[in-house]
Symmetry: C2
Subunit: 236 residues, 2 copies
DNA sequence: ACCTGAACACCGTTCAAGT
DNA sequence: ACCTGAACACCGTTCAAGT
Protein backbone atom coordinates (compact mmCIF):
# COMPACT_ATOMS: atom_id res chain seq x y z
CA UNK A 1 0.00 0.00 0.00
CA UNK A 2 1.37 3.38 -0.95
CA UNK A 3 2.03 5.59 2.08
CA UNK A 4 -0.48 8.37 2.49
CA UNK A 5 0.86 11.69 1.32
CA UNK A 6 1.68 14.04 4.17
CA UNK A 7 1.59 17.75 4.16
CA UNK A 8 5.09 19.08 3.84
CA UNK A 9 6.12 20.72 7.11
CA UNK A 10 5.81 24.46 6.90
CA UNK A 11 9.28 25.89 7.41
CA UNK A 12 8.78 28.38 10.18
CA UNK A 13 11.11 31.22 9.19
CA UNK A 14 14.01 28.78 8.73
CA UNK A 15 14.44 28.33 12.48
CA UNK A 16 16.15 25.07 13.49
CA UNK A 17 13.31 22.55 13.41
CA UNK A 18 11.43 22.76 16.68
CA UNK A 19 10.36 19.46 18.21
CA UNK A 20 6.69 18.63 17.96
CA UNK A 21 5.04 18.84 21.36
CA UNK A 22 4.30 15.66 23.28
CA UNK A 23 4.42 14.59 26.91
CA UNK A 24 7.87 13.12 26.34
CA UNK A 25 9.35 16.20 24.71
CA UNK A 26 7.87 18.50 27.33
CA UNK A 27 9.18 16.40 30.23
CA UNK A 28 12.63 16.07 28.65
CA UNK A 29 12.84 19.81 28.05
CA UNK A 30 11.68 20.52 31.59
CA UNK A 31 14.28 18.19 33.07
CA UNK A 32 17.00 19.80 30.97
CA UNK A 33 15.96 23.21 32.29
CA UNK A 34 15.77 21.90 35.83
CA UNK A 35 19.18 20.24 35.75
CA UNK A 36 20.99 23.17 34.24
CA UNK A 37 21.21 26.43 36.09
CA UNK A 38 17.57 27.45 35.76
CA UNK A 39 16.43 28.72 39.12
CA UNK A 40 12.86 27.53 38.97
CA UNK A 41 11.12 25.66 36.18
CA UNK A 42 7.85 27.51 35.72
CA UNK A 43 5.23 26.75 33.13
CA UNK A 44 5.99 30.04 31.44
CA UNK A 45 9.73 29.48 31.26
CA UNK A 46 9.17 25.95 30.00
CA UNK A 47 6.75 27.19 27.38
CA UNK A 48 9.32 29.77 26.35
CA UNK A 49 11.95 27.06 25.88
CA UNK A 50 9.46 25.18 23.73
CA UNK A 51 8.69 28.34 21.74
CA UNK A 52 5.03 28.44 22.59
CA UNK A 53 2.72 29.92 25.20
CA UNK A 54 1.94 28.44 28.63
CA UNK A 55 -1.59 27.54 27.60
CA UNK A 56 -0.27 24.92 25.18
CA UNK A 57 1.07 22.81 28.02
CA UNK A 58 -2.45 22.28 29.31
CA UNK A 59 -3.16 20.11 26.29
CA UNK A 60 -0.76 17.52 27.70
CA UNK A 61 -0.95 18.01 31.47
CA UNK A 62 -3.91 18.80 33.67
CA UNK A 63 -1.90 21.20 35.82
CA UNK A 64 1.60 22.02 37.04
CA UNK A 65 1.48 19.26 39.63
CA UNK A 66 0.86 16.55 37.06
CA UNK A 67 3.81 17.83 35.05
CA UNK A 68 6.03 17.74 38.14
CA UNK A 69 5.00 14.14 38.85
CA UNK A 70 5.91 13.16 35.29
CA UNK A 71 9.27 14.93 35.58
CA UNK A 72 9.97 13.15 38.84
CA UNK A 73 9.22 9.71 37.52
CA UNK A 74 11.33 10.31 34.43
CA UNK A 75 14.18 11.42 36.67
CA UNK A 76 13.91 8.26 38.79
CA UNK A 77 14.86 6.25 35.73
CA UNK A 78 18.45 7.24 36.52
CA UNK A 79 18.52 5.55 39.94
CA UNK A 80 20.80 2.50 40.16
CA UNK A 81 18.40 -0.13 41.48
CA UNK A 82 20.72 -3.14 41.45
CA UNK A 83 24.25 -2.48 42.67
CA UNK A 84 26.43 -5.54 42.22
CA UNK A 85 28.64 -5.47 45.29
CA UNK A 86 28.08 -5.87 49.00
CA UNK A 87 25.54 -7.63 51.17
CA UNK A 88 21.89 -6.57 51.30
CA UNK A 89 22.60 -3.80 53.83
CA UNK A 90 25.29 -2.23 51.72
CA UNK A 91 23.26 -2.54 48.55
CA UNK A 92 20.27 -0.95 50.27
CA UNK A 93 22.48 1.97 51.28
CA UNK A 94 23.78 2.26 47.73
CA UNK A 95 20.33 2.34 46.14
CA UNK A 96 19.20 5.03 48.58
CA UNK A 97 22.38 7.03 48.03
CA UNK A 98 21.82 6.87 44.28
CA UNK A 99 18.24 8.06 44.73
CA UNK A 100 19.43 10.96 46.86
CA UNK A 101 22.11 11.98 44.36
CA UNK A 102 19.64 11.99 41.51
CA UNK A 103 17.29 14.26 43.43
CA UNK A 104 20.15 16.48 44.49
CA UNK A 105 20.77 17.59 40.94
CA UNK A 106 17.17 18.84 40.69
CA UNK A 107 16.39 21.00 43.73
CA UNK A 108 12.88 21.92 42.66
CA UNK A 109 11.89 18.33 42.08
CA UNK A 110 13.38 17.19 45.36
CA UNK A 111 11.01 19.54 47.14
CA UNK A 112 8.07 18.43 45.05
CA UNK A 113 8.85 14.79 45.82
CA UNK A 114 7.98 15.38 49.46
CA UNK A 115 4.44 16.45 48.72
CA UNK A 116 3.33 14.83 45.50
CA UNK A 117 4.30 11.23 45.54
CA UNK A 118 4.97 9.95 42.04
CA UNK A 119 3.11 6.92 40.76
CA UNK A 120 4.98 6.11 37.55
CA UNK A 121 6.80 2.93 36.61
CA UNK A 122 10.22 4.10 37.80
CA UNK A 123 8.89 4.90 41.26
CA UNK A 124 7.17 1.53 41.47
CA UNK A 125 10.40 -0.16 40.41
CA UNK A 126 12.30 1.69 43.13
CA UNK A 127 9.87 0.60 45.83
CA UNK A 128 9.98 -2.94 44.49
CA UNK A 129 13.78 -3.00 44.62
CA UNK A 130 13.82 -1.72 48.20
CA UNK A 131 11.25 -4.30 49.27
CA UNK A 132 13.34 -7.03 47.68
CA UNK A 133 16.45 -6.00 49.61
CA UNK A 134 14.56 -5.83 52.89
CA UNK A 135 13.11 -9.29 52.23
CA UNK A 136 16.63 -10.56 51.60
CA UNK A 137 17.54 -9.16 55.01
CA UNK A 138 14.80 -11.25 56.57
CA UNK A 139 12.34 -8.50 57.38
CA UNK A 140 8.69 -9.63 57.33
CA UNK A 141 6.88 -8.09 54.38
CA UNK A 142 4.39 -6.17 56.51
CA UNK A 143 7.25 -4.46 58.32
CA UNK A 144 9.16 -3.87 55.10
CA UNK A 145 6.17 -2.07 53.59
CA UNK A 146 6.34 0.55 56.34
CA UNK A 147 10.13 0.71 56.43
CA UNK A 148 10.35 1.62 52.74
CA UNK A 149 8.31 4.72 53.46
CA UNK A 150 10.72 5.68 56.24
CA UNK A 151 13.82 5.14 54.12
CA UNK A 152 12.47 7.11 51.17
CA UNK A 153 11.25 9.91 53.40
CA UNK A 154 14.68 10.28 55.00
CA UNK A 155 16.37 10.37 51.60
CA UNK A 156 13.83 12.71 50.03
CA UNK A 157 13.72 15.18 52.90
CA UNK A 158 17.51 15.33 53.07
CA UNK A 159 17.74 15.98 49.34
CA UNK A 160 15.02 18.62 49.55
CA UNK A 161 16.68 20.41 52.46
CA UNK A 162 20.11 20.54 50.94
CA UNK A 163 19.41 20.51 47.22
CA UNK A 164 20.67 23.51 45.36
CA UNK A 165 22.76 24.79 48.24
CA UNK A 166 26.19 25.92 47.16
CA UNK A 167 28.66 23.37 48.45
CA UNK A 168 30.85 25.93 50.16
CA UNK A 169 27.91 27.91 51.52
CA UNK A 170 27.32 28.20 55.21
CA UNK A 171 23.90 26.64 55.74
CA UNK A 172 21.56 27.77 58.46
CA UNK A 173 23.80 30.63 59.57
CA UNK A 174 21.07 31.97 61.84
CA UNK A 175 20.61 28.65 63.59
CA UNK A 176 24.35 28.13 63.97
CA UNK A 177 24.72 31.56 65.47
CA UNK A 178 21.79 30.98 67.80
CA UNK A 179 23.25 27.69 68.98
CA UNK A 180 26.65 29.26 69.50
CA UNK A 181 25.04 32.05 71.51
CA UNK A 182 22.76 29.76 73.53
CA UNK A 183 23.32 30.28 77.23
CA UNK A 184 24.28 27.10 79.08
CA UNK A 185 21.94 28.25 81.82
CA UNK A 186 18.84 28.22 79.64
CA UNK A 187 19.81 25.44 77.27
CA UNK A 188 22.32 23.18 79.05
CA UNK A 189 22.10 20.18 76.75
CA UNK A 190 22.09 22.29 73.62
CA UNK A 191 25.20 24.13 74.75
CA UNK A 192 26.91 20.83 75.54
CA UNK A 193 26.02 19.38 72.13
CA UNK A 194 26.80 22.53 70.15
CA UNK A 195 30.05 21.14 68.79
CA UNK A 196 28.37 18.03 67.43
CA UNK A 197 25.08 19.29 66.07
CA UNK A 198 26.54 20.41 62.75
CA UNK A 199 29.42 17.95 62.55
CA UNK A 200 30.04 15.43 59.82
CA UNK A 201 29.62 15.73 56.10
CA UNK A 202 26.32 15.13 54.38
CA UNK A 203 26.92 11.76 52.74
CA UNK A 204 28.44 10.25 55.90
CA UNK A 205 25.53 11.39 58.01
CA UNK A 206 23.05 10.13 55.48
CA UNK A 207 24.72 6.72 55.20
CA UNK A 208 24.78 6.43 59.00
CA UNK A 209 21.09 7.26 59.16
CA UNK A 210 20.22 4.53 56.65
CA UNK A 211 22.05 1.94 58.74
CA UNK A 212 20.32 3.28 61.85
CA UNK A 213 16.93 2.86 60.18
CA UNK A 214 17.77 -0.69 59.14
CA UNK A 215 18.93 -1.60 62.65
CA UNK A 216 15.84 0.00 64.10
CA UNK A 217 13.61 -1.88 61.71
CA UNK A 218 15.14 -5.23 62.67
CA UNK A 219 14.59 -4.40 66.34
CA UNK A 220 11.10 -2.88 66.12
CA UNK A 221 8.26 -5.06 64.90
CA UNK A 222 5.08 -3.34 63.84
CA UNK A 223 2.42 -2.91 66.49
CA UNK A 224 -0.23 -5.66 66.60
CA UNK A 225 -2.52 -5.18 63.62
CA UNK A 226 -5.65 -4.92 65.75
CA UNK A 227 -6.39 -1.38 64.62
CA UNK A 228 -4.92 -1.75 61.18
CA UNK A 229 -7.83 -2.67 58.85
CA UNK A 230 -9.54 0.76 58.74
CA UNK A 231 -10.39 2.44 55.47
CA UNK A 232 -6.75 2.30 54.45
CA UNK A 233 -6.85 -1.49 54.47
CA UNK A 234 -6.29 -3.81 51.58
CA UNK A 235 -6.10 -3.05 47.92
CA UNK A 236 -9.61 -3.65 46.64
CA UNK B 1 8.37 63.80 86.45
CA UNK B 2 5.21 64.56 84.56
CA UNK B 3 4.57 62.14 81.72
CA UNK B 4 5.21 63.61 78.32
CA UNK B 5 2.05 64.55 76.52
CA UNK B 6 1.15 62.22 73.69
CA UNK B 7 -0.68 63.05 70.53
CA UNK B 8 -4.21 61.81 70.81
CA UNK B 9 -4.72 58.88 68.46
CA UNK B 10 -6.47 59.97 65.30
CA UNK B 11 -9.75 58.11 65.10
CA UNK B 12 -9.66 56.60 61.67
CA UNK B 13 -13.25 56.80 60.53
CA UNK B 14 -14.46 55.28 63.81
CA UNK B 15 -13.29 51.81 62.84
CA UNK B 16 -12.62 49.50 65.79
CA UNK B 17 -9.15 50.52 66.93
CA UNK B 18 -6.65 48.74 64.76
CA UNK B 19 -3.58 47.32 66.50
CA UNK B 20 -0.37 49.22 66.00
CA UNK B 21 2.03 47.25 63.84
CA UNK B 22 4.91 45.37 65.44
CA UNK B 23 6.63 42.06 64.89
CA UNK B 24 4.47 40.49 67.58
CA UNK B 25 1.16 41.73 66.19
CA UNK B 26 2.09 40.75 62.67
CA UNK B 27 3.14 37.25 63.70
CA UNK B 28 0.04 36.75 65.85
CA UNK B 29 -2.23 37.88 63.03
CA UNK B 30 -0.41 35.65 60.55
CA UNK B 31 -0.77 32.62 62.84
CA UNK B 32 -4.45 33.33 63.30
CA UNK B 33 -4.89 33.43 59.54
CA UNK B 34 -2.83 30.28 59.10
CA UNK B 35 -4.70 28.30 61.74
CA UNK B 36 -8.13 29.21 60.54
CA UNK B 37 -9.31 28.20 57.12
CA UNK B 38 -7.08 30.53 55.12
CA UNK B 39 -5.64 28.54 52.27
CA UNK B 40 -2.29 30.24 52.05
CA UNK B 41 -0.97 33.10 54.16
CA UNK B 42 0.50 35.50 51.61
CA UNK B 43 2.03 38.86 52.40
CA UNK B 44 -0.84 40.54 50.61
CA UNK B 45 -3.56 38.68 52.48
CA UNK B 46 -1.77 39.30 55.76
CA UNK B 47 -1.42 42.99 54.94
CA UNK B 48 -5.12 43.05 54.13
CA UNK B 49 -5.97 41.58 57.52
CA UNK B 50 -3.82 44.27 59.11
CA UNK B 51 -5.52 46.95 57.02
CA UNK B 52 -2.39 48.12 55.27
CA UNK B 53 -0.42 47.38 52.12
CA UNK B 54 2.17 44.65 51.68
CA UNK B 55 5.04 47.13 51.61
CA UNK B 56 4.46 47.93 55.28
CA UNK B 57 5.47 44.45 56.36
CA UNK B 58 8.97 45.06 55.04
CA UNK B 59 9.56 47.52 57.83
CA UNK B 60 9.49 44.60 60.27
CA UNK B 61 10.73 41.63 58.23
CA UNK B 62 13.43 41.45 55.60
CA UNK B 63 11.38 39.12 53.42
CA UNK B 64 8.66 36.49 53.46
CA UNK B 65 11.06 33.81 54.66
CA UNK B 66 12.01 35.74 57.78
CA UNK B 67 8.33 36.19 58.59
CA UNK B 68 7.75 32.46 58.18
CA UNK B 69 10.62 31.67 60.53
CA UNK B 70 9.15 34.01 63.15
CA UNK B 71 5.70 32.41 62.75
CA UNK B 72 7.21 28.98 63.13
CA UNK B 73 9.08 29.78 66.31
CA UNK B 74 6.02 31.42 67.83
CA UNK B 75 4.02 28.32 66.99
CA UNK B 76 6.57 26.05 68.67
CA UNK B 77 5.76 27.74 71.95
CA UNK B 78 2.72 25.46 72.09
CA UNK B 79 4.73 22.22 72.11
CA UNK B 80 4.57 20.27 75.38
CA UNK B 81 8.25 19.86 76.19
CA UNK B 82 7.94 18.09 79.53
CA UNK B 83 5.27 15.41 79.75
CA UNK B 84 4.95 14.06 83.26
CA UNK B 85 4.26 10.38 82.72
CA UNK B 86 6.22 7.48 81.32
CA UNK B 87 9.87 6.59 81.01
CA UNK B 88 12.23 8.55 78.75
CA UNK B 89 11.17 6.62 75.63
CA UNK B 90 7.51 7.33 76.16
CA UNK B 91 8.15 10.96 77.00
CA UNK B 92 10.30 11.36 73.90
CA UNK B 93 7.44 9.99 71.83
CA UNK B 94 5.02 12.37 73.53
CA UNK B 95 7.12 15.45 72.87
CA UNK B 96 7.52 14.52 69.22
CA UNK B 97 3.81 13.76 68.90
CA UNK B 98 3.02 17.15 70.39
CA UNK B 99 5.39 18.83 67.92
CA UNK B 100 3.73 17.03 65.03
CA UNK B 101 0.22 17.96 66.17
CA UNK B 102 1.15 21.61 66.46
CA UNK B 103 2.52 21.64 62.92
CA UNK B 104 -0.48 19.73 61.64
CA UNK B 105 -2.77 22.62 62.40
CA UNK B 106 -0.67 24.91 60.17
CA UNK B 107 -0.09 23.17 56.84
CA UNK B 108 1.82 26.03 55.26
CA UNK B 109 4.21 26.31 58.15
CA UNK B 110 4.80 22.57 58.27
CA UNK B 111 6.08 22.77 54.72
CA UNK B 112 8.21 25.78 55.48
CA UNK B 113 9.73 24.02 58.49
CA UNK B 114 11.41 21.53 56.19
CA UNK B 115 13.37 24.16 54.34
CA UNK B 116 13.90 27.10 56.63
CA UNK B 117 15.02 25.88 59.98
CA UNK B 118 13.89 28.20 62.73
CA UNK B 119 16.45 29.60 65.15
CA UNK B 120 14.24 31.18 67.81
CA UNK B 121 14.11 30.41 71.53
CA UNK B 122 11.24 27.93 71.26
CA UNK B 123 13.08 25.86 68.69
CA UNK B 124 16.22 25.87 70.81
CA UNK B 125 14.17 24.79 73.82
CA UNK B 126 12.70 21.91 71.83
CA UNK B 127 16.11 20.67 70.75
CA UNK B 128 17.36 21.03 74.32
CA UNK B 129 14.45 18.98 75.67
CA UNK B 130 15.03 16.21 73.12
CA UNK B 131 18.74 16.11 73.94
CA UNK B 132 17.91 15.82 77.62
CA UNK B 133 15.63 12.84 77.07
CA UNK B 134 18.19 11.08 74.89
CA UNK B 135 20.85 11.67 77.55
CA UNK B 136 18.49 10.17 80.12
CA UNK B 137 18.28 7.13 77.87
CA UNK B 138 22.05 6.80 78.00
CA UNK B 139 22.88 7.91 74.47
CA UNK B 140 26.30 9.57 74.15
CA UNK B 141 25.89 13.25 73.44
CA UNK B 142 27.64 13.14 70.07
CA UNK B 143 25.17 10.51 68.91
CA UNK B 144 22.23 12.36 70.42
CA UNK B 145 23.13 15.50 68.47
CA UNK B 146 22.65 13.64 65.20
CA UNK B 147 19.62 11.67 66.36
CA UNK B 148 17.68 14.84 67.20
CA UNK B 149 17.96 15.89 63.58
CA UNK B 150 16.58 12.53 62.49
CA UNK B 151 13.65 12.62 64.93
CA UNK B 152 12.66 16.16 64.00
CA UNK B 153 12.99 15.49 60.30
CA UNK B 154 10.69 12.47 60.55
CA UNK B 155 8.11 14.48 62.48
CA UNK B 156 8.36 17.56 60.27
CA UNK B 157 8.22 15.69 56.98
CA UNK B 158 5.23 13.67 58.12
CA UNK B 159 3.40 16.80 59.20
CA UNK B 160 4.26 18.52 55.93
CA UNK B 161 3.08 15.59 53.82
CA UNK B 162 -0.22 15.16 55.54
CA UNK B 163 -0.98 18.62 56.86
CA UNK B 164 -4.13 20.14 55.55
CA UNK B 165 -5.42 16.92 54.04
CA UNK B 166 -9.09 16.32 54.76
CA UNK B 167 -9.29 13.49 57.25
CA UNK B 168 -11.70 11.49 55.16
CA UNK B 169 -9.89 12.19 51.90
CA UNK B 170 -8.28 9.45 49.90
CA UNK B 171 -4.60 10.42 49.80
CA UNK B 172 -2.37 9.56 46.90
CA UNK B 173 -5.18 8.08 44.82
CA UNK B 174 -2.90 7.84 41.79
CA UNK B 175 -0.24 5.92 43.69
CA UNK B 176 -2.78 3.60 45.30
CA UNK B 177 -4.28 2.84 41.93
CA UNK B 178 -0.85 2.27 40.40
CA UNK B 179 0.09 -0.12 43.20
CA UNK B 180 -3.21 -1.96 42.87
CA UNK B 181 -2.64 -2.28 39.13
CA UNK B 182 1.02 -3.26 39.41
CA UNK B 183 1.62 -6.55 37.64
CA UNK B 184 3.14 -9.25 39.89
CA UNK B 185 5.37 -10.11 36.97
CA UNK B 186 7.04 -6.71 36.78
CA UNK B 187 6.86 -5.79 40.46
CA UNK B 188 6.66 -8.99 42.49
CA UNK B 189 7.55 -7.54 45.87
CA UNK B 190 5.37 -4.50 45.40
CA UNK B 191 2.40 -6.66 44.49
CA UNK B 192 3.00 -8.83 47.54
CA UNK B 193 3.22 -5.82 49.85
CA UNK B 194 0.31 -3.93 48.29
CA UNK B 195 -2.02 -4.70 51.17
CA UNK B 196 0.39 -3.36 53.76
CA UNK B 197 1.87 -0.28 52.09
CA UNK B 198 -1.03 1.96 53.04
CA UNK B 199 -2.11 0.19 56.21
CA UNK B 200 -2.27 1.66 59.69
CA UNK B 201 -3.40 5.04 60.83
CA UNK B 202 -1.12 8.05 60.88
CA UNK B 203 -0.48 8.44 64.59
CA UNK B 204 0.21 4.72 65.10
CA UNK B 205 2.67 4.66 62.22
CA UNK B 206 4.36 7.79 63.46
CA UNK B 207 4.69 6.50 67.03
CA UNK B 208 6.12 3.22 65.72
CA UNK B 209 8.66 5.12 63.64
CA UNK B 210 9.84 7.12 66.67
CA UNK B 211 10.47 3.92 68.62
CA UNK B 212 12.23 2.47 65.59
CA UNK B 213 14.51 5.50 65.44
CA UNK B 214 15.29 5.24 69.14
CA UNK B 215 16.08 1.52 68.86
CA UNK B 216 18.21 2.19 65.81
CA UNK B 217 20.08 4.97 67.59
CA UNK B 218 20.91 2.71 70.55
CA UNK B 219 22.23 0.07 68.14
CA UNK B 220 24.10 2.32 65.71
CA UNK B 221 27.02 4.37 67.05
CA UNK B 222 28.27 7.21 64.91
CA UNK B 223 31.08 6.45 62.52
CA UNK B 224 34.60 7.17 63.84
CA UNK B 225 35.07 10.92 63.89
CA UNK B 226 38.18 10.80 61.68
CA UNK B 227 36.55 12.85 58.93
CA UNK B 228 34.38 14.91 61.22
CA UNK B 229 36.29 18.16 61.88
CA UNK B 230 35.81 19.80 58.46
CA UNK B 231 34.50 23.31 58.09
CA UNK B 232 31.37 22.34 59.97
CA UNK B 233 33.43 21.59 63.08
CA UNK B 234 32.95 22.85 66.55
CA UNK B 235 31.38 26.04 67.68
CA UNK B 236 34.78 27.35 68.59
C1' DA C 1 11.97 59.25 59.93
C1' DC C 2 8.62 56.29 59.24
C1' DC C 3 5.28 54.45 56.37
C1' DT C 4 2.88 53.09 52.00
C1' DG C 5 0.50 53.59 47.05
C1' DA C 6 1.64 52.27 43.03
C1' DA C 7 4.49 50.03 39.94
C1' DC C 8 7.47 46.12 38.46
C1' DA C 9 8.34 41.64 37.15
C1' DC C 10 6.68 37.79 37.60
C1' DC C 11 3.18 33.44 38.56
C1' DG C 12 -0.74 29.34 37.20
C1' DT C 13 -4.96 28.87 34.82
C1' DT C 14 -8.89 29.80 31.70
C1' DC C 15 -11.24 30.66 27.53
C1' DA C 16 -12.63 32.85 23.40
C1' DA C 17 -11.02 33.06 19.09
C1' DG C 18 -8.21 31.60 15.54
C1' DT C 19 -6.37 27.81 11.98
C1' DA D 1 -10.21 19.51 16.31
C1' DC D 2 -6.35 21.17 17.97
C1' DC D 3 -3.84 24.90 19.56
C1' DT D 4 -2.83 29.50 21.67
C1' DG D 5 -2.99 34.94 22.46
C1' DA D 6 -4.64 37.47 25.65
C1' DA D 7 -6.83 38.15 29.80
C1' DC D 8 -7.70 37.08 34.75
C1' DA D 9 -6.55 36.85 39.35
C1' DC D 10 -3.13 36.57 41.80
C1' DC D 11 2.17 36.68 43.78
C1' DG D 12 6.83 38.99 46.41
C1' DT D 13 9.52 43.02 46.30
C1' DT D 14 11.03 47.82 45.40
C1' DC D 15 10.95 52.68 45.58
C1' DA D 16 9.46 57.28 44.96
C1' DA D 17 6.58 60.14 47.18
C1' DG D 18 3.90 61.40 50.90
C1' DT D 19 3.19 62.66 56.20
Amino acid sequence: VAPRARRAPISRRDRPAKDALSREVIVATALALSGEGTERVTLRRLAGALETGPASLYVYFRDAEELQAAMLDALLGAVRLRPDTGDWRERLGQVLASYTEVLFAHPGLARAALFTRPSGPHYLALVDALLELLAEGGLPIADAAWVVDLLLQRATATAAENAGADVGADEDPLLRQAVADASPGDYPHLAAAAGELFSGDGPARLAWSFQLLINGALATPRPPAAITPGRAGSVR
